[in-house]
């Protein structure tokens, strides 16, 4: 055996044969499985006698005899166990098989030696399972200290099916499991962390799948406490738990600006759409340099190759294809002789066939012309550039010369947002300042002025061959630059925060429709009227008005500004305006200065000294649409006008506004300098007020048996969501004696429905008394969502504006507080105070109840939290 091997190597050295195709470099052998054995592989490891154990998504564990033997295709496959709930990770410790199920890490024991498992012991299970179908648990590498590592998929849901959610603990986290079963949440912000691996230095790498907040498929280097970008996992941080806040679907969390840990590598979309796990080649016998990484890829059905380097304390690196046409590779495992076993599966996920099975991939030991690797070079004083060094496995053919034609280099970055993935943004071709092939023709150095941190660079070489004529097998390589080797480290990320795209699922979600229904009710103003308006035919500098509800116009002689009663923080303002000939108005959001509205395309939309970047104003007498996305100053960050859009054209983007205080403030339309007409004024808050901790989560799923129903409605609990259906009736929460309290819930009412959240609820004459805060999209009593009434005969304060569209989730907050003048009830919608009522008599402490008002009502409530 040894002799033969030596002979083989000697021959190779004498006469270098080149593989010119992938199949010439790596062979594929597919295991034939017996009837009824479908290997949808989620985990693999070796027993000490060399047998290979695989766990499958069907919850089975199979053992493959002699996997390195000559006749792999016919290797014996035996069922060791079945009946688990998936097995997306497997680890053999001292010949004991450990499998990661959805709900637990289990040890499988064959206690009577008959070859089948008969004892299943729970090692760890301290994480949540809501029952959502997408709550996968991935694993299961084990480090040199004996700790296991695993990751939990977020579940999906609102507003789109693919939007991540984290309704139970540690969804979207990477966890450490100690040998005694203790589970420690380690890092957050992952979405679908399918691939988890440790390298020889115990560094932990995790792959994720593109989706909301995840621009493409990344490889993270996991550090303790790291946050990798998907916001929903933050629900389980101390900070969020204490504040009662929940991470928002569409608004980036505060921590995203500078508190993310950047992925070490972004794999280009064209190479990976669903990444599996990875391994470090520790043998040097797989046809790639020892120490490089092999990455599993499902959708494109291949293996990728990657390498990492540390730059200014952060890992980053390169990636490129290695071996294609394998099948949907979900797991890779390397044998001591260098062989890589690929476990396939793609059921429900999509990917290249075969959809399942076990593949043995081996190097043919033929030479190949490949990149050796890629290194980011430091600043060069002479050319004043950064650059890259690319190495080759063999000298490049003497005929090849490096030029702008043969070396193509592009850079790009991504958007960090809630949309599904991100296109490559700001793509540009990098001009080469210097390009030099070394004397031995094995190293290529490229330099450019345009190499920046927080970008990705792809280099494609054309026409490169070895001296033998063998082509460069994979001529394109991608590098993720988190940091440059010198200079001040950057705070920027490859995936950059951008204004959220318009919501597609529920266009009105989070919006307060200030001028709907009672059009004047949400504004402080004098001299404004609801009427129809058009240019006066006789005098185009004026409006002719008539009865109607088409416009809000400052027709009065001493008209004031038109100012919202509510104060807003970061927000998206939408308004439509119309000016007469020569007309002039302005809009001011909080303390950010004025956006001028003028009947002049060159100046309309000016912000301070900054003219609009495009002429988007149309004409006097025509309605114009204005959208302003803005952020207030906070901590060290200045205020920003993120984007101002006039009639669909962006006229300002990313304008930093210095010298502002950061206080929330109203939206003010100038009404004192001539006629202006307004309509459809909406504000979508893009933040939530900060607050202190002390929130309790009213977990209906845990206490459902203690909730009490009264009257003629029904309430069901569906996926952590309370769903009430009319007629008149109440649902009592199992809680009591609430005095001063703030209650929060996410609620939604249908177009035919009305209901209420009742705080300090108590038995009353006609049902349930208390402070009832209305959630009403239908009942024509002038008390719409946000209205409050004390008992059946106490004081009431109505909101007549249709602030919230029907069938739209709204974050409702009710604060009840006793004071000298009685009890004050304050109602906020989407973080904005919209109503306040003082009850001079006050009411005794009580509980919490939900009410359906009438037939046809569908009242949905999520996440009831309270703070006493």
């Amino acid at each position: 055996m040894t002799t033969a091997l030596l002979l083989c190597c000697a021959l190779a050295a004498q006469d270098t044969t080149f593989a010119e195709t992938e199949s010439g470099a790596h062979t594929l052998e597919y295991l034939k499985t017996p009837d009824g054995c479908v290997l949808e592989i989620g985990g693999m490891d070796f027993l000490s006698d060399g047998r290979l154990v695989v766990s499958t998504r069907r919850g089975q564990v199979w053992i493959v005899d002699d996997p390195l033997g000559e006749d792999f295709e016919n290797a014996k496959v035996t069922l060791f166990h079945e009946g688990l709930w998936e097995g997306l990770g497997l680890s053999v410790v001292d010949d004991e098989i450990h499998v990661l199920q959805r709900g637990e890490l289990s040890k499988l024991v064959d206690s009577n030696g008959d070859g089948r498992c008969d004892v299943v012991e729970t090692v760890a299970s301290d994480w949540g399972l809501s029952g959502h179908y997408h709550e996968f648990a991935f694993g299961l590498p084990r480090d040199s200290r004996g700790d296991w590592w695993m990751g939990l998929n977020v579940s999906f849901g609102d507003p789109e099916w693919w939007h991540g959610r984290s309704t139970v603990p540690y969804r979207g986290w990477i966890l450490r499991v100690s040998p005694d079963g203790t589970v420690t949440p380690w890092a957050s912000g992952v979405r679908s962390p399918n691939g988890i691996a440790l390298d020889s230095k115990d560094r932990l790498f995790v792959t994720d799948n593109q989706g909301d907040w995840i621009a493409s498929s990344p490889i993270y280097h996991i550090v303790e406490g790291g946050f990798y970008g998907h916001p929903k996992s933050l629900n389980w941080t101390e900070e969020y738990r204490a504040s009662g806040k929940l991470a928002h679907d569409e608004i980036p969390p505060a921590r995203a600006a500078t508190g993310r840990t950047a992925p070490a590598i972004w794999i280009p979309y064209k190479w990976s759409r669903s990444t599996g796990n990875l391994l470090e080649d520790r043998t040097g016998s797989f046809g790639i340099p020892k120490g490089q990484f092999v990455v599993a890829e499902l959708t494109n059905g291949m293996l990728l190759r990657a390498g990492f380097e540390e730059v200014q304390g952060q890992l980053q690196g390169w990636v490129l294809p290695l071996r294609q046409e394998i099948g949907s590779v979900n797991r890779v495992l390397q044998a001591p002789d260098g062989t890589v076993f690929c476990g396939l599966t793609n059921r429900g996920w999509g990917g290249k066939p075969p959809a399942d099975g076990l593949v043995r991939v081996r190097s043919t030991r033929a030479e190949t012309m490949e990149f050796g690797g890629m290194t980011l070079l430091d600043f060069d004083e002479e050319t004043e550039t950064f650059g890259f060094e690319l190495t080759f496995s063999h000298p490049v053919h003497a005929d090849w010369s490096a030029s702008a034609e043969s070396v193509k280099m592009i850079s790009y970055d991504y958007d960090y947002w809630w949309e599904y993935g991100s296109p490559e943004r700001h793509t540009q071709t990098l001009e080469l300042e210097a390009v030099e092939l070394s004397e031995d023709r094995k190293t290529l150095v490229v330099r450019s002025f345009d190499i920046y941190p927080a970008t990705c660079v792809r280099i494609a070489l054309e026409g490169v061959t070895a001296e033998s004529g063998a082509p460069l097998l994979h001529p394109e390589i991608s590098y993720t630059i988190n940091q440059l080797p010198s200079g001040a480290p950057t705070n920027a990320y490859v995936a950059k925060m951008v204004p959220p795209p318009p919501s597609k699922g529920d266009v009105d979600a989070g919006v307060l429709r200030l001028s709907w229904g009672d059009a004047l009710g949400q504004f402080e103003s004098t001299g404004w009227e609801l009427c129809d308006a058009a240019l006066d035919a006789a005098d185009a500098t004026k409006f002719a008005t008539g009865p109607g509800n088409g416009a809000l116009v400052n027709v009065g002689p001493k008209a004031s500004d038109f100012v919202t009663r509510g104060s807003f923080g970061d927000a998206h303002l939408h308004a439509e305006f119309m000016l007469p000939k020569g007309g002039r108005s302005a809009v001011q959001v909080a303390d950010l200065g004025r956006i001028e509205l003028t009947d002049d395309a060159a100046t309309c939309g000016s912000f301070g000294d900054l003219p609009p970047s495009a002429e988007a104003y149309t004409a006097a007498g025509e309605w114009c649409e204005l959208d302003v996305y803005y952020r207030l100053a906070k901590d060290d960050a200045p205020a920003f006008l993120d984007r101002v859009v006039l009639n669909g054209t962006a006229i300002h983007e990313g304008v930093e506004v210095s010298g502002t205080g950061g206080a929330r403030g109203p939206v003010r339309f100038l009404g004192t300098e001539g006629a202006v007409a307004l309509r459809n004024i909406q504000v979508k808050p893009l933040d939530r007020p900060a607050d202190a901790g002390g929130w309790e989560f009213l977990n209906a799923a845990e206490t459902w048996d203690d909730w009490e129903l009264m009257g003629d409605c029904t309430f069901d609990l569906e996926n952590e969501e309370l769903v009430g259906k009319g007629a008149l009736g109440w649902l009592w929460a199992p809680i009591d004696e609430l005095g001063d309290v703030t209650v929060r819930a996410r609620v939604k009412i249908n177009a035919n429905g009305a209901g209420a959240l009742i705080v300090r609820a108590a038995d009353g004459d006609d049902g349930v008394d208390g402070y009832a805060v209305r959630v009403n999209a239908s009942f024509p009593d002038g008390a719409l969502t946000g209205s409050v009434r004390a008992g059946s005969d106490g004081p009431a304060a109505s909101v007549a504006s249709e602030l919230i569209a029907a069938d739209t989730w709204v974050d409702l907050e009710v604060d009840v507080r006793d004071g000298d003048g009685g009890t004050t009830v304050t109602v906020s919608l989407n973080g904005v105070v919209v109503n306040e009522m003082v009850d001079p008599e006050g009411r005794s402490p009580g509980g919490i109840a939900l009410r359906c008002d009438h037939d046809g009502t569908v009242f949905k409530v999520q996440n009831i939290r309270l703070r006493r």
């Binding site: 069907r58 004892v119 959708t299 793609n346 296109p423």
Partner: protein, 364 residues
């Protein structure tokens, strides 16, 4: 509870087996003959981006190239339903539009099937036969069970034990409680389809489900304070014809939110034969070293009626038999308040008593 594994192993149980009702066969939806020209629809609506042959090289200039169908692999997964979903709803964040408004239901499915047919054969995963059967030995399964009653909850952490005689026990793992008993075929692993994660489908008929009275009789309490302790299933073991469920025991939350571990025990499920009918007996017993815990007393407050005794003629003494819930009897010795057997039978009878005695003596 009694700390004696040997004694606990002595008991097997009685379930007077009702006949499983045959479930009514489902009627497949009638398919009407297709008059849809799927290729024409594809050429009109899809080809400009995905190419006439489906190679992803259409004439429209896109930010991101359209998918080539020739290789297989679809955004939402390789199932007919998933491809249909892409066609109906579009793919957010990509130029792929939704066709729900443009095409009718039949056209949507036809074009989805056309797209699938463009790909390589075998791209669509057809879940294998996912019905699990119980053979010669009991089978223990983990997974999510659907709600056993209307208005109830799915149970994501279920342990389901199936016996060769067609009896299935459904436990909740996080509190080690028996939730339901069924009779008939075992389970359909519905989570073998799609992306997985679906609830298991029990194939047997429900013959018993838990209620308040049973829950009280099933409580393990602190012997001094009478407070209920929490139990979790920590392991399962198939031992011959019986199945052991191990559980741990923890005291109520301390002031710092901690729980104190108090040891643990086993719930052992066996069958005894009564007139050739298998009757399930479940013994609950502590592991050695577990102290100061006992089963909640059930005789004193009158909620469970004494219906008989089991006299083992001096071998192990007298056992009281109480009806704790429809179809379940609790059997215990007055001076051994830690050990309790639950016998699943529709009525108590002398024959049952005799069979139990035989089982006790044989196994003692």
């Amino acid at each position: 509870m009694l700390s004696d594994r040997r004694l606990a192993a002595a008991f097997a149980g009685a379930l007077l087996v009702p006949l499983a009702l045959p479930s009514s066969p489902s009627t497949p939806a009638s398919a009407s003959p297709s008059v849809v020209d799927e290729k024409a629809i594809y050429m009109e609506h899809c080809a400009q981006c995905h190419g006439e042959t489906g190679d992803g090289k259409g004439t429209t200039d896109l930010e991101r190239p359209a998918r080539s169908f020739l290789d297989g692999g679809y955004s939402y997964g390789n199932t007919r339903k998933a491809v249909l979903r892409s066609v109906v709803h579009g793919i957010p964040g990509t130029p792929m539009p939704a066709f729900a408004e443009t095409l009718n239901g039949e056209q949507l499915q036809a074009v989805a099937d056309y797209v699938i047919a463009l790909g390589p054969p075998g791209t669509i995963v057809r879940p294998g036969d996912s019905v699990m059967e119980v053979g010669e030995q009991p089978v223990v399964v983990q997974g999510m069970m659907p709600a056993y009653r209307e208005g109830g909850f799915r149970e994501p952490r279920s342990v389901v034990v199936g016996f060769p005689n067609g009896t299935t026990f459904q436990y909740r793992k996080q509190d080690a409680r028996l939730i339901a008993v069924r009779q008939g075929d075992f389970l359909d692993r519905k989570d073998w389809g799609g992306r997985g994660g679906q609830a298991l489908k029990p194939l047997g008929a429900l013959t018993w489900s838990t209620n308040d009275a049973y829950e009280r009789a099933n409580d393990v309490v602190d012997a001094k304070t009478g407070e209920a302790l929490t139990r979790r299933i920590t392991g399962t073991r198939i031992e011959g014809d019986s199945v052991w469920l191990s559980f741990d025991l923890a005291g109520p939350d301390g002031p710092d939110g901690s729980v104190s571990s108090l040891g643990g025990g086993h719930e052992i499920i066996r069958f005894v034969m009564v007139d050739d009918v298998p009757v399930a007996v479940r013994a609950i017993v502590a592991v050695s070293g577990t102290r100061d815990v006992r089963m909640r007393p059930i005789g004193s407050d009158g909620f469970a009626t004494l219906v008989g005794t089991v006299d083992t003629k001096g071998t192990t003494g007298f056992f009281d038999v109480r009806a704790v819930s429809d179809g379940v009897f609790a059997v215990e010795q007055p001076d051994l308040p830690g050990l309790r057997f639950f016998v699943h039978a529709s009525a108590w009878s002398d024959r049952l008593s005799t069979a139990l005695i035989r089982s006790l003596i044989e196994n003692d």
